[in-house]
Symmetry: C3
Subunit: 140 residues, 3 copies
């Protein structure tokens, strides 16, 4: 019979870029008695988001970031929401296009992701921020 | 021990744009005995979708809509699927790029989203539609 | 009281394109005693992803693919991650923009999706691959 386990991660970013959170998420799951289930990861912000991406070659993440900058240019004259800086409206659009919630399978007491799948917090603002991510495991 | 609670929202849109559904989702959760869990929101359509976005400055949503129109132009001659109108194929692509399902943490009997996180139904068709959204809470 | 049911699909793709997996997912759900719940579908890769899209007119999928090729061109000189071929970095970006996990409601013992909602594995690499998709049902 399934039970719920919940915790929150506090993550300090150093401005725009990626922070892998696979390890703290795995650690949370290992600290519960659940062997099988689903871990839901949720970020409590609209200018930072979650992605699952290749974690072997760091160039993949920088290419992704470069593509984002081209597709959603900072300071685009089209944007009317500019009070919080030229990177703020792009941050909201990037968040909508990536993920605010992700759900990962748990098998044999561990997150069962692919070998090269890293779970990342993707900070979209230029300045460092403290971000909150909640982890909810439904498992048995 | 976790139980399942399920309901459906029927939402009437007034054409392309955003409808915040945070309040009815919160109301559904409050009507169950669950204190902790995960709420999965699912939209039963392929030309309307779900997003979580800043709900403080309405300009954020109109900038997002403008970006979408530029990235996926209505009536783009590239599209072959045109029988349902120039806004239909863009609606399908917008849906794929945003979310059909979102999962939100429930803590202390409430959806635990960030202060500025609004849950929106994003209607992508020009004409008004009746949309169905289902809410499933796994909680205890 | 909710229980967890879990299985894995192995899918052989024939290169870039779409494979509908609604049927095997529905079959998995029907094989459990659960009547109500949430099915989480997760793809264990970063160069193939999941989408829910219209399954009536196949032109919708080919228009989507064409849009992707224009938005994220294969072999774009911007990309530094090129060792695995001109289609690899675009595959990672496409995966980030679409879904690695999707959660669908289960009602009356069946996945309760809209009439025209097909669940697809979206292969982004040019070459055929064997892909793993896990299905986790939290249901009662």
């Amino acid at each position: 019979m399934a039970s719920i386990f919940q915790d929150t991660l506090q993550v300090r970013t150093s401005g725009r870029g990626f922070l892998e959170i696979s390890e703290p998420a795995q650690h949370f799951v290992a600290g519960t008695p659940a062997q099988t289930g689903v871990l839901t990861v949720f970020i409590h912000h609209t200018s930072a988001s979650l992605i699952i991406c290749e974690n072997a070659d760091p160039q993949v993440l920088s290419d992704l970031e470069e593509w984002m900058q081209r597709a959603i240019p900072d300071g685009d004259p089209m944007f009317g929401h500019t009070a919080e800086g030229p990177d703020d409206m792009p941050a909201h659009i990037r968040s909508v296009l990536t993920a605010t919630s992700l759900s990962l399978p748990v098998t044999h007491g561990r997150i069962s992701a692919g070998t090269w799948q890293g779970l990342y917090l993707y900070e979209h603002r230029a300045a460092p921020h403290t971000r909150h991510v909640s982890l909810t495991l439904v498992g048995e």
